[in-house]
């Protein structure tokens, strides 16, 4: 019998116990995977954006719009290649579903966000049709929108001059992301801001929530954001400029202490799991003390007995942990699909790496004490049952 065969045979001697322990390990890692990916959203959600863009908002809050007349001043700053802007529309689909709808200047936006790809003809149609809208692939797929349709979207902020809360836009294009992570950002809708400016009954004319500054050189991000903010200091429209990554992170951080709660849960789960598996391992070693003594009598070294016990712990944790992480990956994908990409629970490589590290650590934590005990066994005492 090979050593690995011996380890497996030992595990399955008390089949019920092994299976039950495995199931608890699976449950723990299923939870671990899901929570870790939630945690991931809070900590590093905006990794893919890079630092080539700055976001400028009103210093008091991004809900306070800034005058579009700032654009030429911003574009005159050395190092700023192009400026786009976007305005939150407060879009609502059907009864009560909030949509991410922004009023933008099409061609400026296209220059600043080359990551969103769409045929040139559709960009031109968007720029040249006043009542046009374009939709991201994710959202268009979710609601089954097709190019050429007129899409009714209402706004919970801006009434239309003639039709109240109800607006309608001609869908002239559907854009996708240049890669997977940008594809996941395509749950937004863009409308033409000239039309928005003219047709909203509120008279917020010539103002917008955000300017997005595309930089010629990302190394100068900090200097340029200081220049921008200094330029408008002491005016009613003081600005706050930060990198796109910091902006996104700050946005997520607004949700507040959820990340902390998640870490608490993880801690509780892990502590619980450690005890469950640790106890099982300790018990199985305790019951087999005479056998381990026999192994030693047969000439197995102290080290190899230690190795055997550790291998058992590792096998248990590894199998249970991997199955649990797989289940979590599938579950996360299901949640993501079920919510149309609104709630992105992807178990990417980083979650898996942390997961595998946790598996190894856990095997050591639960296996080491029993393994050391097995290593220290005195043959005579153990055989005599002392």
């Amino acid at each position: 019998m090979t050593r690995s065969g011996f380890v497996i045979a030992n595990l399955f001697r008390k089949r019920t116990r092994t299976i039950l322990t495995l199931l608890s390990v699976i449950m723990a890692f299923l939870l671990f995977g899901l929570l870790q990916s939630v945690n991931h959203i809070f900590n590093a959600g905006a990794d893919f954006v890079g630092a080539t863009r700055l976001m400028t908002q009103a210093r008091v809050s991004f809900t306070q719009p800034l005058p579009i007349s700032m654009v030429p001043k911003l574009e005159a700053i050395p190092g700023v290649a192009r400026v786009a802007f976007s305005q939150w529309f407060g879009g609502v689909w059907q009864e009560n579903t909030q949509l991410f709808v922004f009023a933008i200047d099409p061609l400026r936006y296209r220059d600043v966000y080359p990551e969103f790809v769409m045929p040139d003809a559709q960009w031109q149609a968007f720029a040249n049709t006043r009542t046009a809208m374009i939709a991201g692939k994710l959202i268009a797929d979710q609601y089954g929108w097709k190019v050429g349709q007129k899409i009714p979207i209402s706004s919970n902020i801006y009434p239309q001059k003639n039709s109240g809360n109800a607006w309608a836009f001609d869908l002239v294009g559907i854009f996708d992301g240049k890669d997977e992570s940008w594809h996941k950002q395509t749950n937004v809708v863009f409308i033409n801001r000239d039309y928005f400016d003219e047709a909203n009954a509120f008279g917020i004319k010539g103002r917008t929530n955000f300017f997005i500054l595309k930089l010629a050189d990302s190394n100068r991000a900090e200097a340029i954001s200081k220049t921008v903010d200094a330029m408008f200091e002491n005016s009613p429209d003081e600005t706050k400029t930060q990198t796109e990554k910091d902006f996104n992170l700050g946005f997520i951080k607004q949700i507040g202490d959820i990340g902390l709660i998640v870490r608490w849960i993880l801690f509780a789960v892990f502590f619980t799991l450690l005890l469950v598996v640790g106890n099982t391992m300790a018990q199985s070693v305790r019951e087999r003390i005479p056998e381990l003594a026999v192994l030693k009598t047969l000439g197995f070294s102290d080290g190899s007995v230690l190795g055997l016990v550790l291998a058992e712990a590792l096998a248990l944790c590894l199998f249970g942990g991997l199955v649990g992480l797989c289940l979590a990956t599938m579950g996360g994908a299901m949640v993501e699909k079920g919510t149309g990409g609104q709630f992105q629970l992807q178990l990417d490589a980083s979650v898996w790496i942390i997961g595998v590290a946790a598996i190894v650590l856990m095997s050591l934590a639960v296996g080491l004490l029993p393994a050391l005990r097995a290593r220290r066994l005195k043959i005579v005492d153990a055989l005599a049952g002392r």
């Binding site: 019920t16 116990r17 039950l20 322990t21 199931l23 608890s24 449950m27 723990a28 299923l30 939870l31 899901l34 929570l35 009103a58 210093r59 008091v60 809050s61 809900t63 306070q64 407060g90 609502v92 009560n96 209402s154 919970n156 902020i157 009434p159 109240g164 809360n165 509120f202 200091e233 002491n234 005016s235 009613p236 429209d237 003081e238 706050k240 930060q242 910091d246 992170l249 700050g250 951080k253 607004q254 949700i255 507040g256 202490d257 959820i258 902390l260 709660i261 608490w264 849960i265 509780a268 789960v269 502590f271 619980t272 799991l273 005890l275 469950v276 106890n279 099982t280 300790a282 018990q283």
Partner: protein, 392 residues
């Protein structure tokens, strides 16, 4: 039979200390489940009760039609005047209607545990009637703002979670400095706000009208009167909502999200705990095999054995449940946290570990204890006596 069951249970329970390790697994496992469950729901309860306390049933809030939250709403001066003169509104001591047109704007403050990322804080511009409408709001330090000056008063909750709004500090808004002159406490979601004079807010932020009008209703049919009058007036499209319904609606999404999270996490953890409990109880039964067989041999029935194993499992589970609830209470009760509300601003609230939540947690613990005890109990009763007796 009952006496038999009691006798065996007494033996088994008094032998728990000898088998403490597997018993501890059940206790700790259940403590984990109940602690997590209680803590998560205590968060949802705390959030909901903070907002619910803000709204009264004899008040109504008037917003622009379809705007759903104060942040999105805007009413013109003419409209707010018409609303304040509408029917169904109670009059104050001075004979004027008890109504307050308020302007909600947002400023950024930095969390205490952060250095640069701003969080959205509600700044509420109010008229003097606003204080009459909220008698629970008390100035606890400093003084009220002076109308016409750029002065702010700050809610307790804001001070607890965010920096830069202490009395005497200045908050920068739209190119001007605003001095914080007082601190107030209301015991509801207004504690997460900064208040100032509505007219100063209007001129500074370039807003002409208001976000909402809060009115005290006159009698039980006041609501309907006001609502009908507003619907009939062609000059406005507004929603008239009972204040408590409005604030209740603001919590729905949060409660759903947290409820879903708590459900998923609890189910997965509970399954894990059931498996662990099964494991431990099987081990307990195996360890006591000889003892059970002896009892059976001297005439004890199988059923009392089942009962005794079940009771042991239940007691351990209940102990774990109580421990978990205690942990949740000690660590989380009254823990102050802040999160985004429907108005896209921070709502500061406390976790609330209520007796009802603890009870629900204990029920979960008991169910898990039953599930974990049943199969091992049946196995214990079915142990073949002779072989068990012969075992080492």
């Amino acid at each position: 039979m009952l006496r038999q069951a009691l006798a065996i249970t007494r033996i088994s329970i008094s032998s728990i200390p000898e088998r403490w390790a597997p018993s501890l697994v059940i206790v700790i496992g259940l403590a984990g489940v109940v602690a997590v469950f209680t803590a998560l729901l205590a968060m949802a309860t705390g959030f909901a009760s903070t907002l619910k306390a803000t709204g009264r049933t004899d008040f109504a809030i008037v917003l622009r039609g379809g705007s759903q939250a104060e942040l999105n709403s805007a009413l013109l001066r003419e409209q707010t005047d018409l609303i304040e003169q509408g029917p169904g509104i109670r009059s104050g001591a001075d004979g004027k209607p008890l109504a307050s047109a308020e302007l909600m704007i947002i400023a950024e403050l930095i969390r205490k545990d952060d250095v640069k990322n701003g969080a959205n804080i509600t700044v509420r511009g109010v008229e003097p009637t606003a204080f009459a409408l909220r008698p629970n709001l008390k100035i606890v330090a400093g003084r009220k703002f002076t109308p016409g000056l750029r002065e702010l008063i700050v809610g307790r909750g804001v001070l607890r979670e965010f920096q830069g709004a202490e009395i005497g500090k200045t908050v920068r808004m739209r190119g001007s400095n605003w001095t914080v002159v007082g601190e107030f406490e209301a015991g509801d979601s207004h504690d997460s706000e900064l208040w100032t004079d509505v007219n100063v807010a209007r001129t500074t932020f370039g807003r002409l009208g208001s976000s909402s009008v809060l009115v005290a209703l006159d009698g039980p049919d006041g609501f309907q009167k006001l609502k009908t009058a507003m619907a009939a007036d062609p000059r406005m499209t507004v929603d008239v909502i009972r204040e408590q319904d409005y604030y209740d609606g603001q919590t729905q999404q949060f409660r759903q999200t947290i409820g879903f999270l708590a459900g998923v996490v609890t189910i997965i953890m509970a399954l894990g705990a059931v498996f662990a409990a099964l494991n431990s109880m099987y081990a307990a039964v195996a360890a006591r095999g000889k003892e059970i067989a002896t009892l059976r041999a001297i005439g004890f029935g199988g059923f009392p054995v089942v009962i005794s194993v079940m009771i042991e499992s239940l007691l351990l589970a209940l102990g774990g449940g109580v421990l978990g609830a205690l942990i949740a209470y000690v660590l989380f009760n009254n823990l102050s946290v802040a999160t985004l509300g429907q108005n896209f601003t921070q709502v500061v609230f406390n976790f609330k570990v209520t007796p009802e939540l603890v009870l629900r947690g204990l029920i979960i613990a008991v169910v898990i204890g039953m599930l974990g005890g049943l199969l091992p109990a049946i196995r214990a009763a079915r142990l073949p006596i002779t072989t068990s007796l012969r075992e080492q």
